[in-house]
Amino acid sequence: MKALLIGEYRQGKLLDSTFELFGFAAQLGGETAFLLVGDETRLPACDGPLYLAEAAECGEYNPDLHKQLILQAVARENPDFIVFVHSSYGWDLAPRVAARLKAAQVSEVIGLTDGGFEVGCCNAKMRRTVKPSTARAVLTIQAGAFPARQPNGTPRIQRLAATGNGGLEFVGYEPAEAKDVDLTRAEVIVSAGRGVGKKENVPVIAALARALGGELGASRPVVDAGWIEHSHQVGTTGQTVSPRLYVACGISGAIQHLAGMKKSDFIVAINKDKDAPIGEIADVLVVADVMQFVPALTARLQR
């Protein structure tokens, strides 16, 4: 069995998530080959063939061209699996490669079961086991699902080149919004999710944060709706926090939110849905309506 692992490179750096591909490959077993559109000074120390194209020539984001480079490596290696991280790079590129190869794609793999791949579905509340029917399959792995592994070997570098852009032109990056609240230093964070219902209810959550001597956090939809400022957002596109106590109010527990808060020492979730995926990582799940429970809790703390 052979896997072709597709690394990720952005703003002149090899992304750490790339090493999760090696962690996944170790569980999968068999040989590996690696491909990166990047630069020679930042390569993983992996054994086996390492296909390299220069980001300076091929662009960091130029999906049509990167697809062609991957297809070249596939033709030479004949891998059983082509593996990406399920990220803004991987979910964009993987289906293009799969379509050209007419290969099955399994997205956001979180585990291996005999002959199949475990994936989340229904907003992470349920799981599916999926089996590719094609000899070759394209996989994307969920960020954080497999341990990062630093390989220790000597790659055989093979240079790749291609030209073109498939009607898409990369203009540039826009930096993340500046943070005016530093949640990373808070000891207690009480976050509001869509389950708080409306903007007018946000002060109720803020009052609990104050009563616990902590800061107010937020899930993404609450920020997008303009109920709370972006600087309070927790998650992959917000801040990564690890307070002593994290209280999630009306938050379902999507992977992108969990990625930002799962390292908290103690997690309390308040959710009316007993099956909400946040229950999987919460130390305590309080099954209740936030707007009934939170004011009652705040009132007790203030007594």
Binding site: D92, A94, Q105, S107, V130, L168, A176, A225, L285
Partner: protein, 258 residues
């Protein structure tokens, strides 16, 4: 200008899911269905573009599924799309993303759409494949996870959301396909007059057999709840009692309550 929006009808995600009798997908009875959240951003963006261009573009909304999906199509029409296409497929839930994409591509193949909008992913299946695969099949330029969209002179300037809050700005020549994501816009609520107007809009029904030519490339062999890692305490019952229980646990297990 011709625009296509692809929407999926999915269950309300706060529902309780049970496996169906084959054990490979959820049992549909007792579930309430609605438009996939990400697809609402796609519909809204298409309608905003239509408004921007002085009503000139024709916006078609397409959904593949059993008869219930007509409700989602009607909602999109009430939001401002012009006409609906219902690809009638009682077995849509058993199709893999490759088949769904190929149905859309075979519909779109000879229609000359300048722009196709899809959601970034479906909330139930969540493969994040259908849009990109359609673009690949049609040879359209494609960008995913849009949080910004501008259109002028046949060019889309799109803002893609990347990890850590950074954004990537790209320009696409039409014909193009974009996949839409939360943060792109705020989908409107259909007003009563628009709901009434939508009743007069045409919804064309096409049997799936006319468009589906592909076999699935992957099979779901099991649908099940996640294995509970356990450890977590679940508290249920009267709110007053819950408050006492939680405070007791916090005093015991954390140092935040002095």
């Amino acid at each position: 200008m011709k625009i296509l929006v692809c929407i999926k009808q999915v269950p309300d995600m706060e529902s309780r899911f049970k496996a169906n009798s084959q054990g490979v997908w959820f049992e549909e009875t007792d579930l309430a269905f609605r438009m996939n959240e990400y697809d609402e951003y796609a519909v809204e963006q298409a309608v905003q573009l239509k408004e921007q261009l002085g009503d000139a573009p024709e916006v078609t909304v397409l959904s593949i599924g059993p008869d219930r999906v007509v409700e989602a199509i009607k909602k999109a029409l009430a939001m401002g799309c012009d006409r609906g296409v219902h690809v009638q497929d009682p077995a849509a839930a058993t199709r893999d993303p490759w088949q769904i994409a190929s149905i859309i591509a075979s519909h779109a193949g000879d229609k000359g759409y300048d722009l196709i909008l899809t959601g970034m992913q479906s909330q139930d299946r969540g493969s994040a494949q259908v849009g990109v695969t359609v673009a690949e099949e049609l040879g359209y330029a494609c960008a995913t996870t849009l949080v910004g969209f501008a259109f002028s002179d046949g060019t889309v300037t799109a803002k893609r959301e990347l990890e850590g809050g950074i954004k990537g700005v790209v320009r696409l020549r039409t014909p193009a396909l974009v996949t839409c994501q939360l943060g792109l816009n705020v989908p409107r609520y259909p007003t009563l007059p628009n709901i009434m107007k939508a009743k007069k809009k045409e919804i064309q029904t096409i049997a799936v057999a006319e468009l589906l030519k592909e076999e699935p490339l992957a099979t779901t062999v099991s649908f099940h709840p996640p294995a509970r890692k356990g450890g977590g305490i679940v508290l249920e019952g009267d709110v007053g009692v819950l408050v006492d229980q939680l405070l007791g646990i916090l005093k015991d297990k954390t140092a935040v309550l002095r």
